[in-house]
Amino acid sequence: MHVEVRGLNKRFGEFQAVSNVEFTIGKGQLIGLLGPSGGGKTSILRMLAGLESPDSGDILFHGRKVNGLPPQERGIGFVFQNYALFKHMTVAQNIAFGLEVKKWPKAKIKERIAELVELTGLVGFEKRYPHQLSGGQRQRVAFARALAPEPQLLLLDEPFAAIDAKIRHELRSWLREMIDRLGITSIFVTHDQDEAIEVADQIMIINKGRLEQKGTPREIYQDPQTPFVASFIGESTLIEDIGQLRGFADAAALGGTKGLVRPEYVEVGRANEFALLSATETGTVSHIHFRGSEWLVEVKIGDIKLTTYRSLEKPALHPGEEVHVLVHRAYLFNETDSWVTENRLKVDPLPVHI
């Protein structure tokens, strides 16, 4: 389903939960809604579903305005955060509910249940009640139930929140695969950046009721449009006076410019590890943490604190050690503008031609 939202607003009493949200979603796309708690993600989903009516703004499916359409008529599958399974119905009855309501013939319902039970890997659990299932199984029943009436749009509110990391991983690849196979437009809310980056075609960052940015995971990551997005994605460090850092002196020329630096923009090591020492700062290692597959290193340059990762293959660093730090790039912003800058000194200042 092609979805378009224009100028969406919603207040709860005095509180503006959603303000002026606009986006378009192409058919068959998987969209990840990401943002801090209380940002308005659930409210947006509920308005799309028709469970909440917007104060102003239009919602269009296939170019047709659906504001007045009740939820029953919208053809949307909704997977609730806590699943909301019908607790007095078996797995099969839960899946059948939407079909019975739509008066499908008995034989077709049976067929569809079998199909979905197969698809969601719930074979053998048809006669169980929700309280006899594990969290992951309940999750899949919720999927199956939402998918049964063949919705054109699937809304998922933190579908994996209550599931442990490993099964979560399996489930989201499974979800991605299934959505690709069925070609359903889907929007899912998550608090897990990795999850969004891994499975979504596009990510929408929602903060304080506003849509901060919409784009592919790569765009969001590499070209954040607002300071909020830059600081929210990844593990950024905010640097008030970015001009202090070697290679970013130009930035200081513009008043009030601040910088955000991500761990992956930073390299630390001993002098012999760098080809271009002139671009590096010297700092001291303040902490190191073992992260399983790498070291997390915290360094201090003057009063600036940066974090970065270091391969386990490289010589180990120790707290208190003097090291060289190369900041490859930074995300800079001021009141009016924001941009990404490379370290100026990295480009050899005095190229020698032989």
Binding site: A49, L51, Q72, E73, A84, L85, K87, G98, V101, P149
Partner: protein
């Protein structure tokens, strides 16, 4: 020490609850089977039991319908507004706070033959006070909170997510109520109905005030017992009381069963 307390509790309850029933039973059989039989087959007893039965049926039906509906509105209707719902919520508890006799008196004062509404109604041939409608209204007043107070907490506890899920699957309110909400609240409703029936069977004060206790017209089982006692017709009083007590015991057993079903 603990054993002593437990046995003391049993003794007190046996004295409080068991002794009166035994006393009623022996009283009813004081003149043997014939005394008991004539006590409950006398025309006035038959009529009184019939009145009580009619009130039980009417009140239970009305109370169940409106009780469930009001509980749903109080819990699930945000459009009613917070303030209004709070007011309604306190009104529901009013009958618990007001003595049934006062409740009956209010009905007489509002709808009695000397009032505007009462005289208007009686001119068009409808008697409220000193007739069945008034007795039903009085009993409704007394039993009004019972079902609502049983159902509301359950509705609050299950939340509205299952109902919203059903909505997303295409179900409209009527279907949602019967297929999703009802299975969750049914045993609480049954429990509330049992309480209503029990309360209606035993209601005395409100009914006495509204009915005027007119023989063969507005006399119920409880007011008949009262009159029999006044007339020193103890065997007959015990016989009718025993029928009421038997009804209560049956209800009690049924209630236990309903409770165990609800707990699932």
């Amino acid at each position: 020490m603990r054993k002593l307390w437990i046995s003391a509790t049993y003794v007190i309850f046996a004295l409080l609850l068991g002794a009166p029933i035994v006393r009623i039973a022996t009283g009813a059989w004081a003149d043997g089977w014939s005394g008991f039989a004539s006590g409950i087959t006398r025309p006035e007893a038959q009529h009184a039991l019939l009145m009580t039965g009619m009130i039980v049926v009417i009140v239970t039906v009305i109370n169940t319908l409106f009780g469930v509906m009001l509980a749903l509105y109080l819990v699930r209707a945000p459009w009613l507004g917070k303030q209004l719902r709070r007011v309604l919520n306190s009104i529901v508890d009013l009958p618990f706070a007001v003595s049934p006799v006062i409740g009956g008196l209010m009905i007489v004062l509002l709808l009695g033959p000397d009032t505007v509404i009462g005289s208007l109604l009686s001119r068009s041939g409808i008697d409220i006070v000193y007739a069945l409608p008034g007795m039903v209204i009085a009993t409704l007043f007394v039993t009004f909170p019972l079902i609502i107070r049983e159902v509301m907490p359950v509705l609050q506890e299950i939340g509205d997510q299952q109902e919203e899920a059903a909505q997303m699957l295409g179900a409209y309110p009527w279907t949602i109520f019967w297929r999703v909400t009802w299975p969750s609240i049914q045993w609480s409703v049954v429990y509330g109905v049992v309480l209503t029936v029990a309360r209606t069977l035993g209601e005395f004060g409100a009914v006495l005030v509204v009915s005027g206790n007119i023989l063969f017209r507005t006399q119920t089982a409880t007011t008949l017992v009262y009159q029999d006692v006044e007339n020193f017709n103890l065997t007959a009083a015990n016989a009718v009381a025993l029928v009421l007590a038997a009804g209560s015991v049956a209800l009690l057993l049924f209630m236990e069963w309903a409770k165990s079903r609800r707990a699932r």
